[in-house]
Symmetry: C2
Subunit: 267 residues, 2 copies
């Protein structure tokens, strides 16, 4: 079972004060890039995995989605999501993404914002998403960038000459990382970009979009702290499509290429 840090009072209070918790998607600077990876929502069946306060669920419904299922582990998050939602097309459900089952071929779009790095078992989750989508379905998600999650003791350092850097270590060593973010003892799971992409490809997805978010010069003028993202990316955004090889030469053309296995967990 995943750690339910969002129901921790200290964490919840701090998270509720973040700009993205108050302003929603408009307060999340990576949102425009995720939005560009998503299809026209008209009539589509959407699932939001790790929906939090429901900002994306409501936006999807406003954009014409036929139905939206929002899933989260945190009861506190879901209570506010319910309170802030007045749309019968949106249903919220409490579930642990580590253990969740989803109905087969029932969604056109799966979305997940900054949740997958909390999951220990990525292959199970990716396979669950894949079987829940129709052929041609879209899976768009953001994660903390592996460069950001890799270090055992993350943090920028400034050397004697004033040079700022992000001391990277253990990038290739996958596994859990316990850090302090809003509250102590937050457990995240670091894995390489290789593993994220491989997990998609082995469950039938084709990578469509890959975007390491970085602030614009205008954003850095407004939020000078964000300039550190030029040194090390914080968010990785990925868009993939579930491909049906029938009627398409992709599956047959690549069938004779041996897959490259992911690296064993080196921890």
């Amino acid at each position: 079972m995943a750690q339910n840090i969002y129901d921790n009072d200290e964490f919840f209070a701090a998270y509720s004060g973040l700009r993205r918790s108050i302003e929603g998607l408009d307060g999340a600077p990576e949102w425009p890039y995720l939005q560009a990876m998503l299809p026209d929502m008209s009539g589509l069946r959407v699932v939001d995995l790790g929906c939090g306060f429901g900002w994306f669920c409501r936006r999807a419904a406003e954009a014409g989605a036929g139905s939206v299922l929002g899933v989260d582990l945190s009861q506190k998050m879901l209570e506010r999501a319910e309170a802030d939602t007045d749309d019968s097309k949106i249903i919220y459900r409490q579930a642990d993404l580590e253990l969740i089952d989803l109905p087969a071929a029932s969604f056109d779009v799966a979305y997940s914002s900054l949740a997958l790095h909390y999951l220990a078992d990525l292959p199970r989750f990716t396979a669950t998403v894949a079987q829940s989508l129709v052929d041609g379905g879209t899976f768009v998600f953001s994660i903390e960038h592996p460069i950001y999650t890799a270090p055992l003791n993350p943090g920028f350092v400034t050397d004697d000459a004033g040079h700022v850097s992000w001391p990277l270590d253990h990038y290739m060593v996958e596994g859990s990382r316990t850090t302090e973010w809003l509250a102590p003892g937050v457990v995240k799971h670091h894995r390489t970009i290789t593993t994220y992409i491989h997990s998609l490809q082995t469950t039938g997805f084709v990578l469509e979009h890959f975007h390491e978010w970085v602030p614009t010069p205008e954003q850095i003028d407004e939020f000078p702290d964000w300039a550190t993202d030029l040194d090390r990316p914080q968010f990785l955004l990925i868009g993939a499509r579930l491909m049906n090889p029938v009627g398409c030469d992709f599956g047959t053309a690549s069938a004779h290429i041996a897959p490259v296995d992911p690296l064993p967990n080196r921890q």
Copy 2:
């Protein structure tokens, strides 16, 4: 025009002494992963862009390739490649990959080992490769990992507590990096993973393989210095396929998704 550092006497002498220069592909630990990304070579027309001493050209011919064109900027490298090759299926040609033209739809496989990070103009190169391949053709290449090329002054550091890290900076700031590797003044071009993948996708490729190389425990036992690759990857290996959207729903299904533009060069 690209820097011709391989024709520098000091660099050439040092490069000639590397294990991969003496033992060829068997001395390049990332080779088995590249090999797994390549199709059965029987009868295929192959181009090796940055062929160096011709190790891959000869291996491809031995594996049954119908023809192999090896291209390199360095006259010194090509002289040894010619001297070491006795196979009429292999042709070598001196050319600058920054400026090269290749005949249209003339190759089944394009290969490039550790060369693209020397090129300033990646979009031109990727487009040149794309138009030179037949539909369904394969493009497999390795590069120095962007985590490796990003820092302005790359190198591991050990802090007072004995903790070793790779001080990452300027990951999101693309552009040239002048470093010392085998000789001073070697010019490489750093770009993000986003840019590499976007360059492939905008020229008609679908990403098939993505592999951040890491040594095995057995390799680290044999070469203890390689353990630093657990902290920061050195090589990124990519395999892509040129996709003909005709007869395949990939092109039409994704047509309504707005592309995500690459970031402007922030240097």
